[in-house]
Symmetry: C3
Subunit: 305 residues, 3 copies
């Protein structure tokens, strides 16, 4: 089913309607039960990371190996033909001949969509500039549903860099298919962009924009924090103004509900104090664990015969 709707791959969270998401969540839960399989035996995944990554790349590679497949790729535009002046389109039209699916990260916002126009194998967007990171959003949903059983009726805060943060863009789009109450929490300078909010309003999402998370912290089921991403700022003075804006500490955790959960796509820098890592309420490392079953589910849908 998913396979039929998404022949060109996973480019944007907007491709996914509620039933698609629920299908993928169900498939991911199945993947959690079997560590290894031969589902993608003989298949090759290409991981093209024009921007650096640890988590996302290794997570896709691990998922592919767990399904019996193999991986080729590059991890830096320095070591590839890009250095010789090749266009993304040409790289894609080459690599599609070597692989059955391409996972791609690039600093330009429209890169994955553009790539999918040229590719005859499915493209997976593993981060396109400040735009989107849909598979991260999907694994975030898997994490939340594993903790809460369902998404509906949850109070969810998305906090940090909502302007440049591609993970919060994809996650909020996905959440707009469910009956959730969302708080967008950010410094004024890093508010969610109008074009993103326009889409969410069309989707009838219930959201509020606030600056001080302390006012609503005790009502939240989930707080999803993000890093202020230095690499997205053109003006470093702007970055210096906001970099330490939010720091979540033990005293904050004490103010939360019993079943409260703190998520973060990682990497983090200073925004979450490491001394709360061991509490049951902080699940950002568990969250990385859910990356494997979700990515296995996606890869299997896109490549299985």
């Amino acid at each position: 089913m998913f396979h039929e709707n998404f022949r060109e791959g996973v480019i944007s969270a907007k491709q996914f309607k509620r039933e698609d998401i629920e299908y993928l969540l169900k498939k991911s839960k199945e993947m959690l039960k079997t560590k290894n399989s031969n589902l993608l035996n003989g298949k090759i995944l290409a991981t093209l990371f024009f921007e650096p990554s640890t988590r996302t790349r290794l997570s896709f590679e691990s998922a592919m190996y767990r399904l019996g497949g193999n991986v080729i790729g590059f991890h830096s535009s320095d070591v590839s033909s890009i250095k010789k002046g090749e266009s993304i389109a040409d790289t894609i039209r080459t690599v599609e001949n070597y692989s059955d699916c391409i996972v791609m990260r690039h600093s330009l916002e429209g890169a994955a969509r553009m790539a999918s126009k040229f590719s005859q194998v499915p493209i997976i967007n593993a981060g396109s500039g400040s735009g989107e990171h849909p598979t991260q959003g999907l694994l975030d949903l898997l994490t939340i549903t594993e903790e809460f059983g369902s998404l509906d009726n949850l109070n969810i805060g998305l906090m940090g860099d909502l302007k440049y943060g591609r993970t919060v863009h994809s996650l909020s789009i996905l959440l707009s298919n469910f009956d959730v109450n969302v708080y967008f929490i950010s410094p004024i300078e890093l508010k969610m962009r109008n074009r993103d909010k326009d889409y969410l309003r069309q989707q009838h999402m219930k959201y509020k924009e606030i600056t001080d998370y302390r006012k609503i912290l005790s009502t939240l089921d989930v707080l999803y924090m993000t890093r202020i991403q230095k690499e997205r700022f053109i003006d470093l003075e702007e970055y210096e103004k906001v970099k330490g804006y939010y720091i979540f500490r033990k005293s904050d955790l004490d103010d939360t509900k019993d079943n409260f959960r703190l998520l973060h796509p990682l990497p983090r820098t200073t925004e979450i104090s490491p001394d709360i890592d061991h509490y049951d309420k902080t699940i950002y490392f568990k969250q990385t664990y859910y990356g494997i079953p979700m990515r296995k589910a996606i890869l299997a849908e896109l490549m299985r015969d």
Copy 2:
């Protein structure tokens, strides 16, 4: 048969006589029929890329996986012991203990030959400076024969940087085993080197050197374009003089025969206008596709038990 003649690997196109080439073309065509096999199960290929590469490295890796083998390697001399001052000879005498075959790219012209002297496993030259790139030449021949049925009696133009272009060196050497008419088309500054022409004359190759491709374009069956390679110029002023020398456009394509084919080893920069990419006469992306069966054939010859 090939295996007997090439125990030390694939270093230069000069190793290949007509019957060797025809044998490899036949084997490649067989490889086209079976996407995956277990022929190289348990074998390990080492890909040592001292110079950056996308196409060649990923193509070899994909070919190796399609044959059931595994791959180790490095993609930049920055991340290897080279940085600590190790010689190529020492690197090879180490890596031969970890692998069954070594694919190697290096900026020095004699690097692969030197490596083969120290190695007890076969070495494949994946590009040695401005010298040669024999497996590219072999896949180029596969591409042409798949399009034309045979190589004999074709009019073939090789155009661009004939001085520093290692792919045209290997391709012209291979072509010298067949009954072809060759045009070497380049700016004066980038003409084929005398030592290369001396070899081709010994081989009784029929060739002409010209500057303006338009004069003979309508007679050509195949035009093989190459990039002017900025990284080979010591003097960037020299590069600036010739970089935009040839640009192949739609109007050129209109002047060609019905069965004309335009090839390019890629990456390209500005020398072929992207607006002709979708025509049947332009087959540079199809050409990358033929890299897989040819490299599968070579790897199988060098490593199978």
Copy 3:
């Protein structure tokens, strides 16, 4: 047995008592007999190299493939989330969710030990700053026992950078479990550190510190040379003073016993003249060969079900 004692991995040579070492040597010898197996089918090894490496990384990867497993990883801190400011602890708590064992190299001396505190999968220390490199020491022991049958009663010289050289630290700790006579041969500036000597004295190791190897060369069974490591010096003037301090030549080799063996962990720069590489007494390339069975033995112990 080994498995029971080393659940957290291979961090330091100090973990190994004589019976552990003998067990691993026995297992390595078994591994020498079967090139490939399926012992680690479905397992994933993560190779996290924050510092550059050819030998150690490729050796672990080759060993893992020979056992039927797969490999993920990064080879430079440039291409990973480290660049975004992530801590080692966070990287480890992420990657443990993607893999069954982590091999790690880092420029900080305590890095591997720290990582093992956070990890739920075994950590293998593949070099921690100037500290240790225990698997190198283990393969060095395998090399010596393969040549001499046993370790006891040998005269062994460790020469070069004994202050910053992590391989000599691990090797001397391992040797302290056997009845050997050790000479520490170095410039005054690069003598073995006091804390290391304190440990060896506690272990009742018989050692002498000397500067001129020529005085005892004719009595040695084994000379283990190391590179003066430029990258460990903060003051390059200090490096310049000692860099060419020892150069082992043909005339030295002539002064050695018939069964003398010269080892080196490689890479070498100028400290061993390449014109003696082909003598039976120089076995540094054979030594790299023994890296595979020893690492296969270690990986199998840490990951097999």
